[in-house]
């Protein structure tokens, strides 16, 4: 049986957001601070989310070349 499982704090999702496990404070491009509020948070990487700095799934409707 497997004894050790990978459980990284930060996960880059191909073509999607950055997952953050645990509590963090994120400063956005305008210098505003946002505190995470759930066990895992998804940070926007495509720049198109309407809910910055969090992912809102918008990357899925972007053409491939604009996906992160």
């Amino acid at each position: 049986m497997k004894e050790h499982f990978d459980h990284p704090d930060v996960v880059v999702c191909p073509g999607g957001p950055l997952l953050l496990r645990g509590e963090h404070v994120i400063e956005d491009a305008e210098g505003r601070q946002h505190r995470t509020s759930r066990p895992v948070s998804a940070v926007c990487r495509c720049g198109k989310s309407a809910d910055q700095p969090w992912c809102d799934g918008t990357h899925k409707v972007l053409p491939d070349k604009l996906k992160p």
Binding site: K2, F5, H7, V11, C13, P14, G16, P17, L19, R38, P39, V40, S41, A42, A50, D51, W54, C55, D56, G57, T58, K60, V61
Partner: protein, 314 residues
């Protein structure tokens, strides 16, 4: 919750059995009048394992004749689901293939209609129908937890913990919906609108219970979860915009806004860490994950088509 109003001969015989507290062996011989009667009967039997009914003996959850009837109804339903939703073989890497399968689905959407043109009455009707699942949000998937090995079990709990408000009852997703319903002047007691919902809602709800209550169907349950989460963020945004357009209360808008953000996380977890870990530990479950995902998408499409047709929106 009251026993639902019968929709045919089988649900009528079942309601009588529940009220009397004994299930006669002949119950298995009663033919369902139609799909609505059959699915309401199955829904009622499942509900004995969730919250039960007012005045109905809790012992009936494990009454052999009722379990036999449930088994008969489930076998037919599962055979139908497998006939309707036959998945292609998923390629590699698994997570990308599962996302692609879900994203290629072009099912009908009630959210787009609510966003742009639904009337207040149509939107409130939709919210009433959504109560059947949203008031037990995440519960059918909770049955799956003890059936999993270490990797997928921990991954599923990471998601479920968020669904259940991280231990804070005020943040429990089903409770956020209760607050939204109360603010809209709708009933928020569990199962309040069961007599009103179209058969498509019963079918959707029964599929989740079927997958959740059978260890054999754990892969389908997690595939259903993945498809549900991966088709939630963007439609939830449209719902929130539609509710705002119609001037509905902020509590109900907040429910959908929470799902924009939460499900952008949950879809990644469900596809990559939950289904990914399941398939890594049990490769034979890949086809079951795909089956569950297609069932989720296909049954929502049937519901959406029904509603859009009734609203003259097709």
């Amino acid at each position: 919750m009251r026993i639902p109003k019968a929709r045919g001969e089988l649900s009528e015989a079942l309601a009588a059995a529940l009220q009397e507290g004994t299930a006669p062996a002949e119950l298995a011989d009663v033919a369902a009048t139609d799909d609505a009667d059959r699915h309401l009967s199955l829904w009622t039997l499942y509900e004995l394992s969730y919250r039960g009914f007012d005045g109905v003996d809790d012992e009936l959850e494990w009454q052999p004749e009722l379990l036999a009837l449930r088994h008969t109804l489930e076998r037919r339903f599962e055979a139908e689901l497998r006939e309707w939703f036959s998945p292609p073989e998923l390629g590699e890497p698994f997570a990308d293939a599962l996302f692609e399968l879900i994203e290629n689905d072009d099912g009908a959407s009630v959210a787009t209609f609510v966003q742009r043109e639904a009337t207040l009455d149509q939107t409130l009707e939709l919210l009433r129908y959504r109560t059947i699942y949203h008031l037990k949000e995440a519960d059918p998937t909770a049955w799956v937890v003890p059936r999993l090995t270490t990797g997928p079990k921990a991954a599923l709990m990471e998601l479920q913990y968020d669904e259940y408000g991280c231990g804070d009852p005020n943040r429990l997703h089903s409770h956020l919906f209760v607050r939204g319903l109360d603010a809209c002047g709708l009933r928020s007691d569990y199962g309040a609108y069961i007599d009103d919902v179209p058969v498509e809602v019963l079918v959707q709800n029964n599929a989740m219970s079927l997958f959740g209550l059978h260890r054999r169907l754990r892969g389908a349950a997690l595939g259903h979860l993945a498809a549900f989460e991966a088709t939630s963020s963007l439609p939830s945004r449209r719902m929130a915009q539609g509710l705002e357009r119609l001037g509905l209360p902020t509590e109900m808008i907040a429910y959908y806004e929470e799902h924009v953000e939460a499900d952008a996380v949950h879809e990644q977890l469900a596809v990559r860490t939950i289904c990914g870990a399941l398939v890594e530990e049990e490769p034979a479950q890949a086809a079951e994950v795909a089956f569950g995902a297609l069932a989720c998408l296909g049954l929502e499409d049937r519901f959406a088509r029904r509603m859009l047709a009734e609203w003259g929106a097709e």
